[in-house]
Subunit: 125 residues, 2 copies
Amino acid sequence: MTHSTSPEAVPAESAPTASYFQRHIFFCTNERQNGEACCAQRDALAAFERCKLQIKAAALSGPGQVRVSKAGCLDRCTAGPVAVVYPEAVWYSYVDASDIDEIVESHLKNGQVVERLLTPAYLGR
Amino acid sequence: MTHSTSPEAVPAESAPTASYFQRHIFFCTNERQNGEACCAQRDALAAFERCKLQIKAAALSGPGQVRVSKAGCLDRCTAGPVAVVYPEAVWYSYVDASDIDEIVESHLKNGQVVERLLTPAYLGR
């Protein structure tokens, strides 16, 4: 690799658009120590594990397919528990296991956003 | 929110494209227990903290701007330590603190990809 400097830099918007993973979902599993609400209190780890197992069982893991990752605080605590699917940047607020199943079936397998679970745009930290 | 069913679902590709965060960088800080190489062994946590402090100092944190998050295994261990910037899906393999500084200055602040740090496409798990 060459050590190019800024004149050779490429604007991010014109970088190759093929994502290494077609869809990369991050589950906030952050645990706050100050007693404030956090995704970890709301079974986020179980949701992550459920999603990951389903993607693996469907043989959808790997480059060009789906990756399921844990994440630290995603800074939308008031909407938690949350997960975000990139590169589409689609945010979900889920409640229970059946919500995870629907995100997997509809969005991660078939590319259809689950509208009823979308995080309201105004909900942040 | 309505409980819509699949006929009302929206294809992910036609979902609103405005990302809640303009750029969301995830640092793999995963620690493997089996002795295999992992990002945590390679000072990934320090890199995450350095990046986060710089973004905060530049007042670039928050909705519409930049978010810096930790992540579990991103499954590109042979290229580690790695970080990925979404929604652009730009992957970096960094080595030291100056690499982090360059990613912050060039990409996160100014939208210019740092080509010399791009993770080679063929490097995965």
